[in-house]
Amino acid sequence: MIRMFHVYKNYPNKIQALRDINIHIKKGEFIFLVGPTGAGKSTLLKLIYRGIVPTKGQVIVDGINIARLKPGYIPYLRRNIGIVFQDFKLLYDRTVYENISFGLKAIGATNFEIKQQVKKVLDLVGLEHKRKMKPHLLSGGEQQKLCIARAIANEPLILLTDEPTGNLDPYNSWEIMKLLFHINIRGTTILMASHDKLMVDKAKKRVVRLDQGRIIEDTQRGVY
């Protein structure tokens, strides 16, 4: 599903964010990206959704070489990738329903499809009863669930999550994790950048450790 060959990423301030990254992520895998702040976790995720391009090397996502992807095709790549951020990135002037529906509208879904799909994902994350509320009235955990609902609404092949439990208490964190496991079981490949030792250890999934831009460890059923 995702392959990286000798990937380097340098930022303009001469910071080497990634160095010689080689990784193969199979369809349906659940992978934790761990490592200290500045290790390159977020950069690696950005490469996958083509938020940035590699300085050197190849990044292949679902058969597409993202470095060669023309700007006009980026939206089509992103329709296969759901993204969940630590800071939620919700639209606070729109309702829960609208936060999900506008993404679906953006990819050309019909009104009927939108209604069905929004209901389905809101049921899945348990927010159907709050569909008319604005996000600021939701708790942190609920806002993160809304982000996940938005990210999976168009049933993407890949879900990228950048420290989704970073702002949550252990109970809500575990709720989010259960939700992500559930989504993963349905076939979605999940990459989760995390600092949450408790969750990583409890999950017993593949753990890729980054340090100073390099992969220093890649373990099946690993720990933090």
């Binding site: 006009g72 992103r78 329709r79 506008f102 993404g103 953006a106």
Partner: protein, 294 residues
Amino acid sequence: MIFENMGFYFREALLSFRRSALMSIATILSTTTILIIVGMFLLISLNSNLFLENLESQLEIIVYLKDNISKAELNTLEGSFNSIDGIKEAKFVSKEEAYQRLSKDLGEQKDILSAIEINPLPASFEIQVKDPKMIEQIANQITKFEKVEEVEYGRETAERLLNFTYLFRRAGLLVLALLIFASILIISNIIKITVYSRRSEIEIMSLVGANSQFIKWPFIIEGFLQGFISAVLSIIILYYFYFFAINKMRQAIPFLPLVVDIIDLLPIGIAIALLGSLVGILGSMFSVGKYLDV
């Protein structure tokens, strides 16, 4: 795809108008203020131009005729004048009429004329030209006619006046160009701020896979609406302000030439509407483009 979604884009544009009502109102008010300033300058320019045209139209050539001119020669001469391209009107002033005018101009001092036994004043033609810039050329042409004693057109005054109106018009155009340039910069910056305040929305749309057209169109429509509403508001304000000012000026200076015909004022309205709408559209287009590269 664009036209299929036009209804949606319009709804989105109107919704975001409502969602960020304060920002929209601030944008409209600031844009309206700028457009009013541009409109005021355009109105002043239009009236100055009318004033200058009026001034220029008062330039005329006076052709003094020899005393021994016969009736037939006079008719031929008048015919020749009328056949010269560039002459608007040639009015004959007889010796008697000239004498009466002088006597009238002298007023209480007209008695001095009684000392003169015969009428010394020559008959003349007062010639108005279509284009004041042609006055010298036409005057030279007339000098060559037989039975023409002297041609007078106030060469220095005419040259000075024409130089002044030329410079005034050029300066006006320069100021207008600068003002329009400044207003484009200011309005597009105001719009840039509204787009900036919603950059996260653009970023999120881009991240969920919306293509650039889908993201841009609601902003473009919103920019157009903001610009157009501002233009309409400024036109209404300028209309009332202008006619109020004109009435006041007419009371103060009754014979001042002023533009009052709506048809003559229409181009200014159209220019303001175009300026507001186009800058609204282009301003949003470029600003959104800046935040699209996520």
